[in-house]
Symmetry: C2
Subunit: 268 residues, 2 copies
């Protein structure tokens, strides 16, 4: 993608994400219409749907040739990243949105022929936009984030790991995850993959491991994190495909191989 094209798309995407966030802040105290999806804890609200529809309308009006892969199903039915594809989560961290009315984000990753060109993660209630254009670094609002400190060892690292992966489960050997939890400095869990990638990119957490994310959960996040020098892949070390659900492991380069090899043993 040409830089001038990228910059034009970035400018529009930024304008729309800020407008969508402002609208959410304005109506945050109004009653929510909450449904569940795959299970009783997989929540969706009318705000997820309306926010997604807003982006679909804007994108289709402005860039009719662009495609959309998005959480609530108002986008296109894609099985590849050919062309220019917007991968959108209108509200990442819906459980936080419903229970906390904060700690959620709008996440937009824009890919051209499979290459991540633009990433935007908007922490709506704090009005903090993390943004990246390929090759130009990551910004937290107007401040450029420094490159990661890739000298940090595991014993000094803070990992974002949800406690479910330390419990007996069908995806990963929990005994090794428990050892990882003991061997790192501490763990945190914030309940939004997009924000966890934003925090990784800021260097305030140093690793993130999870056994199930959809492409819209990490499409923007991996663009940001790679831009500051972080590593990210499936938890078996293979490349993410951005089309299917996947395990995800992200960390700084210093500890990446060590954790994948010594602490992550996938089941089945």
């Amino acid at each position: 993608m040409k830089e001038i094209t990228r910059h034009d798309i970035y400018t529009k995407a930024k304008e729309w994400i800020l407008a969508a966030g402002q609208h959410i802040r304005e109506v945050i105290d109004e009653p929510l219409y909450i449904d569940t999806k795959s299970n009783p804890n997989d929540l969706v609200t009318h705000m997820d749907r309306n926010t997604e529809k807003y982006f679909v309308k804007k994108i289709k009006e402005t860039y009719p040739e662009h495609l959309l892969l998005s959480e609530e199903g108002f986008g296109d039915d894609l099985d590849s990243l050919e062309g220019t594809v917007w991968i959108i989560d209108p509200i990442d961290g819906t459980m936080n949105f419903v229970h906390q009315k904060r700690n959620f984000a709008i996440s937009i990753g824009i890919y051209h022929e499979g290459v991540g060109e633009i990433g935007l993660i908007y922490n709506v209630m704090e009005d903090v936009l993390y943004s990246a254009q390929r090759g130009q670094g990551v910004y937290k609002n107007d401040k450029k984030l420094p490159h990661l400190d890739n000298k940090l060892e595991l014993k000094e690292s803070i990992f974002a790991i949800n406690s479910v992966w330390a419990c007996e489960n069908k995806k990963v050997n929990e005994k090794l995850i428990q050892q990882l939890i003991r061997d790192c400095r501490g763990t945190r869990s914030y309940g939004s993959a997009a924000l966890e990638f934003a925090f990784l990119s800021e260097g305030i957490i140093d690793g993130y491991l999870t056994m199930k994310l959809a492409p819209w959960d990490y499409a923007a996040g991996i663009i940001l994190y790679r831009e500051v020098g972080g590593e990210v892949a499936q938890a078996n070390g293979e490349e993410l495909d951005l089309i299917s659900n996947s395990t995800v492991f992200a960390s700084n380069k210093q500890i990446f191989e060590n954790v994948i090899n010594d602490y992550v043993e996938l089941k089945g």
Copy 2:
């Protein structure tokens, strides 16, 4: 304690906690001198020590008869809560302070003859003060927080649990903790007990279980949480003594007995 006395002490404590927080914000980007205490992950900085000394000086000057129980050891050596006792954590969440430069709090609980009279938890970087005077509810800055919704069931509850308690450990049966993690709606972990109590008091998390806190970690928090109708005790259901390290379990009244009876089995 008379209301007029309580209000006078509250006014001073609020003034000092805001001033201490403002100072921390001003110097947050200066180099930190970091030591470790009981283990390599038990961090302390010159800012913990200087902030505690500031409170000791102010309190001893203004209320020479008051006593202090505080994390870094510049207070008094207490084995009871006789008289008026300030229980202070100058920086709760020191690991967050060091690694994240946010998500930490100053915590002050003030007790008179063992009764919690005043609680203050200051989320320093967000400039949000949670405060309570006995019988007068909890305020988040100037906004009074509502009484808890005590109808929430476990399956709809978000628990703050650090993942270490789902791992094999010497304190608690991890199998039951794993079942609790599966049976609640979701878990979070923020790395500051004081903030976790503040979030409980706001109703944005519904339960908090941990196997080791010092009195300064929870002295303010339990005053706030009880003011909005929350239950808190040791994890075996016994009263907290505010002098020794302890397990702590806090939740809304609806699920308190259920969790203590069915999910918490202490070892040894």
